[in-house]
């Protein structure tokens, strides 16, 4: 008993001494700013900056490979903190928000065929471009909802994604993962969006979808500041000219143009509805 205690104790002392010597000898000098930078970054490791996680970006900023405003998700606040640590002037990027450029859900645009396969838009779009009648439309299989690291996208009952503008950090990961390129990152002040991405001719779009842009050009005429132009069979708003006057919204015969965020708490009501449903399901 006693010999065991002495023996183990001696071993412990020897290894302890070896470890403390090794830590002195092989000590790596860390830049104290790296620790501070990791603390300043959001820590969600979303990857939107293009580096492997927040630590990856911190290292890149230290090496001077990335500007201090690389963290889109963190916004102005993080940019200021990072710039302060690095001792440079903060160049604040304008905040952007994800906008789904399609209104054709299950009700508005029918499916051409029944898709049976992986529940993922990328996989579905490889089979004849997806089941949706409109070749440019949202497939409704929730890839954007799955990839969003901030839980800012939810699918509604019509199989269309809804973005929570309060949670959306503008990281752009959803936009990069949408196989139909339907998600556009648009600067925050812009409220009015033409929610269609179809480059088909008006008549074709009309046949495929009841809320698609039919290129009637009424919005172009209604716009007092000349922000709307027609390009490749689709009306496009110049975000730097638009002053959110809403005249185009009233002029649109197909209800494609929408005041996307203001006034209507779409996301909050959707969550409430889903909660109600799950509770009633649980009760049943």
């Amino acid at each position: 008993m006693l010999s065991a205690i002495i023996g183990l104790g001696a071993l412990g002392c020897i290894f302890g001494a070896m470890l403390s010597l090794a830590s002195k000898k092989f000590h790596v000098q860390l830049d104290p700013r790296e620790e501070a930078l990791i603390g300043a970054l959001p820590g969600t490791n979303c990857g939107a900056c293009g580096f492997p996680g927040c630590q990856g970006m911190a290292k890149a900023v230290l090496k001077g490979e990335a500007p201090t405003n690389s963290c889109t998700a963190g916004g102005a606040e993080v940019t200021q903190r990072v710039s302060a640590i690095m001792g440079v002037e903060a160049v604040i990027k304008e905040k952007e928000i994800a906008v789904i450029m399609c209104k054709g859900g299950r009700k508005e645009a029918k499916d051409r065929f029944r898709y049976a396969g992986i529940h993922d838009c990328k996989a579905a779009s490889m089979i004849a471009g997806g089941a949706k009648s409109c070749g440019y439309g949202c497939l409704g299989l929730a890839t954007c909802e799955t990839v969003c690291p901030y839980d800012a996208i939810k699918m509604d009952g019509n199989a269309l994604p809804v973005v929570d503008e309060k949670k959306c950090t503008g990281c752009g990961i959803c936009a990069a993962n949408c196989p139909k390129f339907l998600i556009k990152m648009i600067r925050e002040p812009n409220q009015i969006h033409i929610r269609c991405n179809s480059l088909d001719k008006g008549a074709v779009t009309r046949k495929n979808c009841s809320v698609g842009c039919i290129v009637c050009k009424k919005c172009e005429k209604a716009c007092p500041v000349g922000a709307i132009t027609i390009r490749d069979n689709l009306a496009v708003i110049d975000p730097f000219k638009c002053d959110n006057c809403r005249k185009c919204v009233a002029s649109c015969p197909t209800d494609t143009i929408e005041n996307y965020y203001s006034g209507e708490p779409r996301f909050a009501s959707l969550i409430e509805k889903q909660l109600d449903e799950s509770q009633s399901n649980a009760a049943a």
């Binding site: 051409r112 065929f113 029944r114 898709y115 049976a116 396969g117 992986i118 529940h119 993922d120 990328k122 996989a123 490889m126 089979i127 004849a128 471009g129 089941a131 990839v147």
Partner: protein, 448 residues
């Protein structure tokens, strides 16, 4: 023939054969369709450029499309008539592909300058390659790889064997079987042309043992030809899917393994489908380009299953009508076999060079839901994978977005035979996961 019984590839499954409906039916000629849609991409490689304009009059066998690079092919008018449209049209692959639409004038006249060669066995190899390219001949087994490329091996690769693929291992399909029974001498002549062009003395014809009539007919044809300086052997093969896959066929017959990412040429073998040999004979002997092929139309959803000799460009709709139409409500229409074929969303899709079968399943006879569960790690897909790779991991990697990890686990060796999806007790669409990962890897390569 005990040699061929001992050697076998790893994995594989025995599928229900389902060939009884059509394997005894002689090939019928499909009536002339009123219009054909000829896609400009019916081969692996660069898409063809159209050689005609809308409004042009064309004749049967006239070249109407031609590709620019080395790995490409040509397309021909399969009926005589007027070009009415050149635009993207539905294609069996699922996507819309540029296609030439020809309206028939009912005359069915051959184009001028269709002339054969009497001593076709002594055509200069260089000239033969040009004939094969200009006849638009591609692999008729389904992959549609341009045949003139297979006939042009690089100088440093010595070809020892030619293998003709008559395995037809997919259930339901009997088009190659009928061709072997009905046109055996033409297939053998085609094989001899290939052997001469590659200066090879030894060839095998691989046929699964469930086609005894084809085996005995081809054997009798060979015994008539002993005097020539060539050695052709019929190799009866075990009934196991995917016996007709190129790599597995080579393993079964000559016991050689193609290195990862390699071609049969790397182990001194060239594999061609029996239908391709027949098409080569037709092109060399009679000068006829590839404008028709045998297509099996079968399945529970079609009234009279048939083997039809159909013109390229005939719509599925027309083919099914000529088999008595649908029996009951159709649930699923597949072009190709049930394992590797693609389900179609419109019957406007034309028959193309690689279309070996059209399968119609009525309601209740095909699984149509998309429900699947998480991987339970049972390992059945790994046990039966003929390539010895790990489909279960790829499914999980896809769901987690781990493209690089999948690549490092030899994902690119997958031949998409469909066995993993077939054996999976959780009904996971593993081939679709793999295709998704392959496309992500290709995207990454393009970016880099």
């Amino acid at each position: 023939m005990s040699l061929f019984q001992k050697i076998a590839f790893r994995g594989g499954v025995h599928l229900p054969e389902e060939k009884d409906g059509t394997n005894g039916l002689p090939t019928q000629t499909c009536p002339l369709p009123g219009k054909v849609v000829i896609p400009l991409s019916q081969h692996t490689g660069a898409i063809c450029e159209p050689l005609v304009k809308s409004g042009d009059l064309v004749k049967k066998g006239q070249k109407i499309g031609e590709g620019k690079s080395f790995i490409t092919s040509t397309v021909h008018a399969s009926i005589s008539g007027k070009v009415v449209d050149i635009s993207p049209q539905p294609h069996p692959s699922g996507n819309n592909v540029p296609a030439i639409t020809i309206e028939s004038d009912g005359k069915d006249e051959w184009a001028d300058g269709i002339a054969g060669t009497g001593d076709y066995l002594y055509i200069d190899p260089e000239k033969l390659r040009a004939i094969v390219l200009n006849a638009g001949i591609v692999g008729l087994g389904g992959a549609q790889f341009p045949t003139h490329v297979k006939l042009s091996p690089p100088k440093d690769k010595k070809i020892e064997y030619v293998i003709l693929n008559g395995a037809e291992c997919e259930p339901f399909i009997t088009s190659d079987h009928r061709l072997m029974v009905e046109k055996p001498s033409e297939i053998i002549e085609g094989l001899k042309i290939i052997m001469k062009a590659l200066s090879v003395r030894k060839a095998f014809i691989g046929i699964e043992k469930n086609k005894p009539d084809a085996i005995s007919i081809l054997k009798s044809q060979i015994s008539n030809l002993k005097s020539q300086n060539m050695d052709i052997e019929v190799a009866p093969l075990d009934i196991k899917y995917p016996q007709g896959a190129e790599k597995q066929l080579i393993k079964s017959i000559v016991n050689r393994e193609i290195p990862s990412g390699g071609l049969p040429m790397d182990v001194g073998v060239v594999v061609n489908n029996v239908g391709t040999a027949h098409a080569i004979y037709n092109a060399a002997r009679h000068g006829r380009p590839l404008i028709e092929r045998v297509v099996t139309v079968t399945g529970s959803g079609v009234k009279e299953p048939k083997n039809l000799l159909a013109r390229i460009g005939t719509s599925l709709d027309f083919m099914i009508q000529n088999c008595g139409g649908f029996a009951g409500e159709p649930e699923k229409v597949i072009v190709g076999g049930p394992m590797m074929g693609t389900a179609q969303h419109t019957l406007k899709v034309p028959v193309i060079k690689g279309t070996s079968a059209i399968l119609v399943f009525s309601k209740g006879s095909a699984r149509a839901d998309s429900d699947y569960l998480a991987c339970i790690r049972c390992g059945r897909c790994i046990d039966s994978c003929p390539m010895g790779i790990t489909p279960n991991l790829y499914g999980i990697y896809y769901e987690r977005g781990m493209v690089d990890a999948a690549h490092s686990w030899n994902l690119m060796d997958c031949i998409e035979c469909g066995i993993c999806s077939y054996t999976c007790p959780a009904h996971r669409p593993l081939v679709q996961f793999i295709r998704g990962l392959k496309s992500e890897i290709h995207k990454k390569k393009k970016k880099a």
